[in-house]
Amino acid sequence: MATAATNKDRPKYLSLRAILFELRLPIAGWISILHRVSGVLLFVSAVWLLFLLDRSLSSETGFASIQRYLGFALVKLSLLVLVWAYCHHLCAGIRFLLLDLHKGVDKASARRSSIVVLVVSLALTAYFGVKLW
């Protein structure tokens, strides 16, 4: 890493394998990579969420069919994963906005806010999970 500061074309270090298996990421790093993962997840599954919205708003019978559909454990579980992705993305996003405003940039508070993001998004997921079930 000593040469990195002097190398003008230094690459960003983005190796997925390293992030997942080789590095021991600090918790703030996990918040960051999970923010990205949850974002991709939401982008990809937006088509499914739109399908749910479309059918549920289409008619009384459409709504009932979606209710039945959401009764399947696997469907519910998938939706719960997306609820987590949404909550995590939202909480981590608010944290990043605060960091942009130079709030909580020092190491101790950055660690603390990372833990808050993790805990709050899991708690929100649990809350909506209970509501959903």
């Binding site: 974002g39 937006a46 708003l57 949404y86 939202l90």
Partner: protein
Amino acid sequence: MVNRIVVGAHYGLRDWLAQRVTGLIMAVYSIIVAVVLTTGAPIRYAVWRDLFSQGWMRVATLLFATSLAWHMWVGVRDILMDYVKPLGARLALQIFVLLVISGYLAWTIQILWRTA
């Protein structure tokens, strides 16, 4: 000669800012809708339909969807720039993503203003 990369980031403060502004809009919408849904009557079809037939809700949801489209574009584009290096593949994927996002937006408008 200006040596620009066509599928690069056009050095964008605009995108950086758009990412944040759209995120904020969606955060506000999410909180409002979460409160409306969890504090209101149990969600039956009539409740669900009436919520989305109100003018403010349609406009707010359209604002949300527009913000989401822009937010998704900047986010996915950043990821493609990080992980897809061959320019042809990157351009192809970026076009595909733009088409998908446009489709999402069009579908949302259709759902919101459909006369059921």
